[in-house]
């Protein structure tokens, strides 16, 4: 029977090829537009470390000015970063399964062999950085507690940096010159592109991770310049980098791994106690406001999903709605225009259900073709967007979940567009049509 319905659908669609193309094209365009914007939106709002969301916490405390809050639009929010001394003190003393204090710096790498030196972005971090954030290694490992304590000159390279410096081979044990000093390579990362870059959202939500990673203690020992945000509120003499280390300027990120609610509670209590102690030294003039954010909460606080992509998402759904309305109208007119044929089939014994199913097959065929077309258009749209997004092209990769979403959208749009017309046509009274034949 369904073969017969398919043949009927084919005949019906062939009768008015322009209208058929218009219907398929309209839904395909709507699906294409929504798939494109949905992919970008989905990529932007995805938590790249969702499986550890509940155990990771961004640590914040409010050391800002008594006169004004850090964020004047949201005065209840503590600053997003920490001072050097707080980051070090909390990382050393707070009760956590793992904890990482870190910041960014930039160094000049000398590839040797007559190649010109180039600038690298480096993350100075304590050793828990790698296990806490599930950072994958291709070769070697991170550093140990001793390297953290003594500031040993060891380095972990990103996959790209290893490619650039050592042609991608296992470079563990090799020596790299950075700012005129020698560092021993102890690890090389596998491909690692957390999108968005949740662990430091201060300079571009979709930046790639740093080029290389160094023990945190080196930053203070060698007085490495800050390369990320440095935010200051207090009038104090900052004659050089040394003053920055003792200042109230914030330029460090701090994350803790807390595995149970009890651990979270204990950590929070310790943090509150620490701030209370510091108050006695005349610091922390604002109301005590020490907050731990899960990754999800952290992404929300930083408003990672761009405003533009939310507007585009809404616009593309409005566009899809127009396309569906359009197709409802076209199908309705087409079905009712051919009501005579249905009336004859009804008079010859076809039930309402059969008429309904027959038209639904036609609608389904349109929906399926439109879905395929929509996917193709979506892929095309993403390719065009890639040009527009420049370096952020990871945002525009169509993944399986998005392909499934596009198919689901096409089916939904097809059903929405086809149900009412199919229902209307099966309610037609045959007698009225038969009389005039």
């Amino acid at each position: 029977m369904s073969g017969y319905y398919l043949r009927l659908a084919w005949l019906s669609l062939k009768r008015t090829p322009a209208i058929t193309l218009l219907m398929i094209g309209a839904i395909a365009l709507g699906i294409g537009a929504t798939t494109t914007t949905l992919t970008v939106y989905h990529r932007m709002s995805t938590n790249p470390i969702a499986h550890r969301n509940d155990v990771l916490r961004a640590v914040t405390i409010d050391n800002w000015s008594a006169d004004r809050p850090f964020d004047e639009e949201h005065p209840d929010r503590p600053p997003t970063e920490l001072t050097y001394r707080d980051a070090v003190a909390i990382a050393a003393g707070a009760p956590a399964a793992r904890i990482v204090a870190m910041r960014k710096t930039s160094l000049t790498a000398e590839p040797g062999a007559g190649r010109p030196p180039f600038l690298v972005e480096a993350r100075l971090a304590t050793r828990d950085f790698f296990p806490m954030f599930d950072v994958p290694f291709a070769y070697g490992t991170g550093w140990d507690a001793r390297a953290d304590r003594d500031g040993e000159p060891v380095v972990v390279l990103s996959k790209e940096t290893n490619g650039k410096l050592f042609g991608g081979e296992n470079s563990v044990g090799r020596v790299l010159r950075l700012d005129g000093r020698e560092y021993r390579v102890i690890g090389v990362l596998a491909d690692w592109q957390p999108t968005p870059k949740f662990y430091d959202l201060n300079n571009g939500d979709y930046d790639t991770p740093e080029d290389l990673f160094l023990p945190f203690a080196l930053g203070a020992a060698l007085e490495m310049q800050p390369a990320g945000n440095v935010n200051c509120w207090k009038t104090e003499t900052l004659a050089g980098i040394r003053d920055l280390f003792g200042s109230e300027c914030i330029w460090h990120q701090l994350w803790a791994e807390l595995r149970t609610p009890a651990e979270v509670e204990r950590f929070q209590a310790w943090l509150d106690g620490y701030v209370a102690e510091q108050r006695k030294l005349g610091r922390f003039a604002r109301k005590s406001n020490n907050r731990l954010y899960t990754v999800d909460e952290w992404l929300t606080r930083h408003e990672v999903v761009g405003r533009d992509s939310r507007v585009l998402l809404l616009v593309s759904f409005a566009f899809l709605a127009v396309c569906v309305l359009n197709v409802v109208g076209l199908l309705l007119s087409r079905f009712l225009g051919a009501a005579g044929a249905s009336a004859i089939r009804r008079a010859l014994g076809a039930s309402r259900g059969e008429i309904f199913r027959q038209h639904l097959v036609e609608v389904g065929a349109v929906g399926a073709l439109a879905g395929l077309g929509g996917l193709a258009l979506g892929a095309l749209g993403l390719r065009a967007l890639q040009q527009l997004y420049g370096s952020y092209d990871r945002l525009t990769q169509l993944d399986l979940s998005m392909i499934l979403a596009a198919i689901a959208l096409a089916v939904l749009a097809g059903v929405l567009a086809g149900l009412y017309p199919a229902w209307r046509i099966c309610r037609v009274q045959p007698a009225g049509y038969l009389k005039t034949q």
Partner: protein
């Protein structure tokens, strides 16, 4: 005249009418807001930079060896760059305008540490910066070479500064600023020796400091990393980029040339999001309008086909072709009109969401009016072809099947 019969015919085919009306309504709501967003983005992209953008090259130098000589490197580089044929002027800066990275400080008009400071984007430059950026001196004078003093502390003011007209307005609210002093919260102060016409600062569209609230300090090139500003003669820029890169890289000094780029490079990067929004929204607007128009054509065609007998009868009873065409035009205008009314409400609902969620200013009525007019006109054009086909129906059709 014929509105009543058209209306009652429409009411009998409510679904079809509703569908077209809704399409027009949603399309109107989207395109009115989209045009407004596009217009604002284009305004941002096209706002003058205030500097000689087409002829500017920037180059970052970073010293990294332990025996690195800051002053010698700076002086040698400046002399080297000035000597290149095709170069008009050279200065040094800590930040590239509109690059997204720069420095800001609080400035005030009294030494009172309790005064509320005004945010100012500061550039650390040397005496040649007005020529090198291509700025216009409005009052006073530029720095003199002897005023170039190393003040290494990043919150200590040098003895003299030059500010933009916007900054002068922000600090002194219209009173003359030349010769006055600006203070830091620490109490240190500087004399304002010159005022330059506005340029856009380090960041795009920030509100505090305002986009052109800028202070120039005569202490560029301290520390170990800075940016050269090279202004070329018109047409020489692209040739000079690789030449300058080669020259600087070949001059030794134990430092790395991080990049050599035109100002256009930074503008492209900075405006990428705005440009993307313009392209994407325009595409959606065009597609949406096209789909709506084609939908109108398709539906009208069906209506014409299903009313052939009725139209033939009217023609047989004396209606002229133009009466039939007019019937469809008026029908479309009524549908479009209803859609426009609903669409206006939807447009303002959308605009109020944009205002609440993204602090967009409210939608000016002009955008709704223009979009509505355009959609109504488009509807008339779309229906014209099926309507003319209806007008061409032979009166004999009426007699055939009776």
């Amino acid at each position: 005249m014929e509105i009543r019969p058209i209306l009652s015919a429409l009411l009998r085919n409510r679904t079809g009418a509703l569908l077209v009306g809704l399409q027009v309504a949603i399309t109107l709501a989207v395109i009115a807001n989209a045009f407004f967003i596009i217009e604002r983005r284009l305004e941002t992209i096209r706002r003058p930079t205030g500097i000689d953008t087409p002829n500017l090259i920037f180059a970052e130098s970073e010293g990294y060896t332990p025996d690195y000589q800051q002053a010698a490197t700076l002086n040698d580089d400046l002399a080297l760059l000035k000597g290149v044929p095709g170069v008009v002027a050279v200065t040094v800066t800590n930040s590239v305008p509109l690059s997204g990275g720069g420095s800001a400080n609080g400035y005030q008009t009294t030494a009172d540490p309790k005064a509320a400071p005004i945010g100012g984007n500061y550039f650390e430059v040397n005496a040649d910066f007005i020529d090198a950026f291509g700025l216009r001196l409005v009052a006073g004078r530029s720095f003199r070479p002897e005023e170039f003093v190393p003040v290494p502390a990043n919150n200590d003011l040098p003895p003299v500064v030059i500010i933009t007209e916007s900054m002068a307005k922000a600090l002194f609210a219209g009173e003359p600023a030349l010769g006055r002093r600006v203070y830091e919260q620490s109490g240190k102060s500087a004399e304002i020796i010159g005022i330059v016409a506005d340029l856009q600062g380090s960041w795009l569209g920030n509100t505090r400091p305002g986009p052109s609230d800028i202070v120039f300090h005569p202490n560029g090139g301290l520390g170990r990393s800075w940016v050269y500003v090279v202004r070329t003669r018109p047409g020489e820029r692209d040739r000079l980029v690789p030449e300058i890169e080669k020259l600087l890289n070949g001059s030794g000094h134990g430092r790395a040339i991080i990049w050599v780029r035109t100002h256009e490079y930074w503008l492209t990067r900075t405006f990428r999001a705005d440009r993307r929004m313009v392209v994407f929204l325009s595409t959606l607007v065009i597609l949406m309008t096209a789909v709506t128009a084609l939908g109108i054509v398709g539906l009208a065609t069906f209506h014409v086909n299903s009313r052939r007998k009725q139209i033939g009868t009217r023609r047989a009873l004396g209606a002229r072709r133009s009466d039939i065409v007019r019937y469809f035009l008026i029908e479309n205008a009524m549908l479009g009109g209803a859609g426009v009314v609903v669409g206006t409400l939807l447009a303002y609902a959308g605009s109020s969401w944009l205002t609440r969620a993204f602090q967009m200013p409210p939608l000016p009525p002009g955008y709704v009016l223009a979009s509505a007019g355009a959609l109504l006109l488009l509807g008339q054009l779309a229906v014209l072809w099926p309507a003319r086909r209806a007008g061409a129906i032979d009166p004999a059709v009426a007699t055939r099947t009776i």
